[in-house]
Amino acid sequence: MINNSLLVVVIASGVAYGTPLLYAALGELLAERSGVLNLGVEGMMLVGAVTGFWTVQRVHTNSGIALALAILVAAIFGALMASIHAFLVITLRASQIVSGLALTIFAGAAGLSSYLGNDLNLGDNPARHSFGALFPASWQHWSVVGPILFSQNVLVYLSWLCVIAIWFYLSRTRQGLNLRAVGESPAAADAMGINVTRYRYVHVLVGGAFAGVGGATFTLAITPQWVDGITGGAGWIAIALVIFAFWRPELCLVGAYFFGALQALPSQLQAREIHVGPTELYNALPYLMTIVVLTLVSSGGARRRLGAPGALGLPYVREET
């Protein structure tokens, strides 16, 4: 049966595991395109994961509404976390690196997410509602496309819409072009009358919302339960993914599924008793490949052509640049 072949299984689980990476990376992409590097992705994801999970456990309503509400709550809390970073680095001009790391310490596996999970007693029970496959079981048996395309949950299909929307936004709308100007050269954007501060705030906050949804993907779809640090470093892979995808949403999708497949591959190989290199090598590959890609594109000209925002990581102060 072709649907049990290694390739199909790995691609199908690559799509599933890649989805939280995709959401988080799309969010980070928006923030970075505005010139703000946010290393707090892991923390924002975990807070989204715990608050989304809390919502399905505590809200007594039908499954669809509870899940929609949970995604909304996760997005709001992700944005709330991002607003701390935004205030510190945009208004108070703190170091983006230090502030982002502080956000991960504050919100991450040994911080707020763990505190909330503990205080709200979320640890012991499976999720009351979770995202299941959207399409009927008969469709999932179709060869190849069944498992890969039709056995996924609604968050996966929603992420495709997000990719299209962000692609359209960045390349076909005035606001999107303004955003790119803000990330590329805030002084020039300011001179054009674009409100740099507002653009940066909006995109860092929306970025946080995406990270929150990415985190909730874990607790509501992939492993519907809460344990401390459930994202297991996905936030860091998402940061790598943005670079790997040259700051482009459509490549984020490809990269997310590729990195997701790399995560799924070792256990599949083990199940089939195929021994090709240690598991850790597959786990480390996303990081190593990002270094290689970043090095290949880091000569000045290539960087600009490929889309690295010119002002990434720099605070903007009118009259000081």
Binding site: L88, V98, L101, A284, I291
Partner: protein, 372 residues
């Protein structure tokens, strides 16, 4: 409207007053969080204070938590002074631990005397950190690849190497013989000659032990202070940090400085890893190291200390105290994430307060600074 104006002069007292005010502010803010979640701030703070500093043996445990943070903090401070953002202290510490364990186990088995084994572990740890730090260093110096991302990515690659060596291979530093290792894989115990000394200062009733690693961290702080404040090298590094262009016009060799500073930064972080093996864990503790986030916490320690080496050691003791209190108090009535939340709030306050040192905050429309 809130407006910021750059201060022409930064009054000296501000750089002490502002961080202290920030810490006071964060404790007040944290009290609100505690009240909101139904905990008593007074009791919680008293328990943290006791189990971090005043209880029997608490200060010794705090020094244990502070030692790795002092190393990773110094590693970050050295590089950040030059605007070289080495956030790979985490991975460089793992490499230091791995290299030092190879050296300690190998030489210990050869029957070398304690002093030489310890010396070799120190050097091996520094070498390990340097090797990993030079990857982003060389990439930055040769291809101008962004070192923030490359050093960050290498932390995870190094973490998986650690897992491979301890959990998934027959490496030299993995314990293959003891009965407990058959149940759960672990690092090979270092021989006795690889165990670093600690000195009892008899300052508190339970004794206050200073481990060799902490002494080395203070020594490293002193060396780095001299290097940055009293040598031509340190001066040039700071000029490059302030303005690469000015440095180039003055004929300073930026590439060599990048490599040198990355190497020093990695060596200090690697020494922290060696100290983990020699002082505290006595084996390569793959899981423990990765759950501790020493490298990332070190960066914020460095930022809190405003990249001053001696202040780094002091801040490391404070944050180490919080960490230690977190371990000691962990239980039903003391939520596990509380310490992380507190650390985060302190960091955010201190980062936000930086602005008060560099800028004058005005409410209303900004107006021109009178001529000085």
């Amino acid at each position: 409207m809130l407006a910021l104006e750059r201060r022409l002069k930064q009054p000296r007292w501000l750089s002490f007053a502002v961080p202290i005010a920030a810490i006071a502010f964060s404790f007040a803010l944290m009290a609100l969080v505690l009240v909101a979640t139904g905990h008593s701030p007074g009791t919680t703070y008293r328990r943290i204070w006791e189990s971090a500093f005043t209880a029997n043996g608490a200060l010794t445990q705090t020094i244990v938590s502070a030692t790795p943070l002092a190393f990773t903090g110094l590693a970050a401070a050295v590089a950040f002074r030059m605007n070289l953002f080495n956030i790979g202290g985490e991975g460089q510490l793992y490499f230091g631990s791995i290299f030092a364990a190879y050296a300690g186990i190998f030489l210990g088995r050869q029957g070398w005397p304690t002093a030489t084994v310890i010396g070799a572990m120190v050097l091996a740890g520094m070498a390990g950190g340097t090797v990993l730090a030079l990857v982003p260093g060389v990439l930055r110096a040769v291809f101008s690849t962004n070192e923030i991302i490359t050093s960050l990515m290498l932390n995870y690659a190094a973490g998986y190497l650690l897992n491979y060596l301890i959990f998934d291979s027959h490496s030299y530093i993995r314990d293959a013989t003891s009965p407990s290792a058959a149940v759960f894989p672990q690092g090979q115990m270092l021989p006795d000659s690889g165990s670093w000394p600690a000195w009892n200062l008899h300052l508190t009733s339970g004794g206050l032990f200073l481990p060799l690693g902490f002494v080395l961290a203070i020594a490293a702080a002193a060396v780095l202070w001299v290097l940055y404040n009293r040598t031509r090298f340190g001066f040039e590094v700071q000029v490059i940090g302030d303005s690469t262009r000015a440095a180039r016009y003055a004929g300073m060799r930026t590439r060599r400085k990048i490599l040198a500073v990355m190497a020093i930064s990695g060596a200090v972080a690697g020494l922290g890893g060696a100290s983990q093996d020699g002082d505290f864990r006595h084996l390569v503790d793959a899981r423990g190291l990765q759950q501790s986030y020493y490298g990332y916490t070190g960066i914020v320690v460095a930022a809190l200390a405003r990249y001053n080496p001696f202040a780094v050691v002091l801040v490391a003791v404070l944050i180490g105290g919080l960490d230690n209190a977190g371990y000691t108090l962990q239980g039903a009535d003391f939520p596990s994430g509380l310490v992380g939340v507190m650390k985060g709030i302190i960091l955010f306050s201190a980062l936000g307060a930086e602005v008060l040192i560099r800028y004058r905050v005005r409410f209303g429309r900004p107006h021109a600074e009178p001529a000085a």
